[in-house]
Symmetry: none
Subunit: 203 residues, 4 copies
Amino acid sequence: MSYRTARSEKHEKIIRAAARMFAQKGFFNTSIAEIAAEAGVGKGTIYEYVSSKDDLFFSVFEWISENSWAQARIGLSALSGTASEKIRTIGRSVIEQWNSMEEYYALMMEFWCATTSSQLRDRFKDVFDHMYKEFRALVSGLIIEGIERGEFRSDIDPEAMAAALVGTFDALVLQDWFNESFDAVNTAEQFLSVVIQGMKAPG
Amino acid sequence: MSYRTARSEKHEKIIRAAARMFAQKGFFNTSIAEIAAEAGVGKGTIYEYVSSKDDLFFSVFEWISENSWAQARIGLSALSGTASEKIRTIGRSVIEQWNSMEEYYALMMEFWCATTSSQLRDRFKDVFDHMYKEFRALVSGLIIEGIERGEFRSDIDPEAMAAALVGTFDALVLQDWFNESFDAVNTAEQFLSVVIQGMKAPG
Amino acid sequence: MSYRTARSEKHEKIIRAAARMFAQKGFFNTSIAEIAAEAGVGKGTIYEYVSSKDDLFFSVFEWISENSWAQARIGLSALSGTASEKIRTIGRSVIEQWNSMEEYYALMMEFWCATTSSQLRDRFKDVFDHMYKEFRALVSGLIIEGIERGEFRSDIDPEAMAAALVGTFDALVLQDWFNESFDAVNTAEQFLSVVIQGMKAPG
Amino acid sequence: MSYRTARSEKHEKIIRAAARMFAQKGFFNTSIAEIAAEAGVGKGTIYEYVSSKDDLFFSVFEWISENSWAQARIGLSALSGTASEKIRTIGRSVIEQWNSMEEYYALMMEFWCATTSSQLRDRFKDVFDHMYKEFRALVSGLIIEGIERGEFRSDIDPEAMAAALVGTFDALVLQDWFNESFDAVNTAEQFLSVVIQGMKAPG
DNA sequence: TATGAATGAGTCTTCATTCAT
DNA sequence: CATGAATGAAGACTCATTCAT
């Protein structure tokens, strides 16, 4: 195993430990000492890989973003069928994606919070902005495709629809995470049927 | 002014000061000293009214919940027109309500975060659960009303639709707060048109 | 005892404790915890009176400057006799002054050092500069007086003489402090005799 | 190049790097890592040549002492002329010597400080003591020579004069270093004229 | 021999909370 | 009741030193 490999493995070990602890107890309630213990390294070792607690937090964010969205994007790249079917697939995919990384949802809340008061506000905002922009573009692209194919009415605003839909997916995941008896997959299914019905071109 | 009144006025002064500071800098980045200064009282005085910083945080949450939703409920009680119109009115009302208290939105994020890691997790969760249940019940009631009147299709699931719609409102407010160039009112208008169209009974 | 008095007494207690510890172990080898213990207060209490360790260091410097030089100045104000006698008196006075505060000499070394590498470099330099300027002015004033009275030759440079003399006093004190068998008072006496002899007007 | 030579060259490289850094930032504000970087070696390598940071500090002191005084002594060995001329030459020489190694003056201050609080106090004191003793002996020897030659009065105390003169040289160098507009060479010239005049045998 | 990753003791500093006035 | 001085636990971070390679 090369030096670079060993180094980046330890780096990831630290990031993962931090992710677990931040998810469990929140950023402010987690101490560097706890993260070091969780990662099985000395306190000082953390600072060989990140320059501060804030930096570690942001590194966790980047790590999560890359790993989770990377996978999601792979799944979405192979969409096929009508625009309606593609949109349904996306909805299902997003929710499943989130469910599969349930343990990190609390972490996402922490990141959201960080956008309101952290020193890192701007760095977080930028990444979130970027993520959402990309996602909205994907959805609005499908809606435009549907309009062009004559599948959807031409008087709907693709941007507005995309923004609302993307937000709704998130909100459903949130409710799911919040309330164990909530069935996000089914709710999304039903809701999307109605929305797609509402977008359908007459006749 | 009675003793009790004087006491409860000072209590509210403290809660308000705490709300302002927590909204501005976040729970963990705000010190009791700052809140005392903002409220114009001594540090020790805070502890005459709340038992701890956590307790103060939760008090702020209760205060916000009561005050903001109280007003919202007043506005919604006087709904009239068809179910569709009522739903539109609710959407507009919720968004306007939030816009009018923009300064507290960051605070809501803090509360959300608290549900993930705070000692107070359960108390926060209970109140949020209750709030959402109430809100969903209002919306699903309107959908049922629409179905009974023959305005909406009878094969739609009122609970699922209500859950999704409530989520959508939240999501739009969030995007509005997050992105200054976003027009939540207009987006909601367009999206609701599509959703209502999708729920419409045929013919 | 008034509040202000109590406060400033505790402030001085902390400064004195810090002075003792810094003198004994040096700035960098003394921890805030030690100073707090020496002063008989809690660690946090220190920060009620100074804003940082650096600030405490500088406060000690100011306190020493005011107290020691204030006394010295009082003694020097009542000089009488010929210019030569006055200069002798000053020499004796400075050395006695230093000897009487032997315990703080190590502290003065610390302050000197601080002028080379501390964050506080400029603040220290300013005060030192001011102190020396004042002292040199006193001595050069006496030399000018001697020249005008015809006691000293008119071709000597009062500023240069004053600078050298003031420095020599310090250097003698340093040797005294450094080497216990050194007799600064006597050495100064002899040296001043020679210097005054050298300044004497012929005839 | 032999093994021993290579080793001692690397040793000196480290000492020089440490000297530069200590002079620039002070002992406590310089880290071993910085010194290693400045020397262009690994952190661990330092410990192949010195046993601790303190030891390195003292090594720098010894290196400076040997090198600078060695050169000074060479210059002084070839003194000629009357005792007065020799004393003048010494003064000029000392001040020029210091000016030529201005960058290390801050380091000397560090060493002085170390005599007050370091673990190494005694080792430093010994070397300083030795240096001063040697220097005083040189000067008092010249004064005795002057007395014997009838150049100086016989009632002056050579030891006391030497101690004071050595102190004066130091003090002038210090003022020069401290205050850029100070002219140590000229001041020394003037002051020495007066002192020599004061020592002159009558007639 | 040379290296630099790993370490944990030790530091300054903050701040919620208490309590004497 | 109101206050704010006092406190010490807790936390982020630094760095001299070690040691496996």
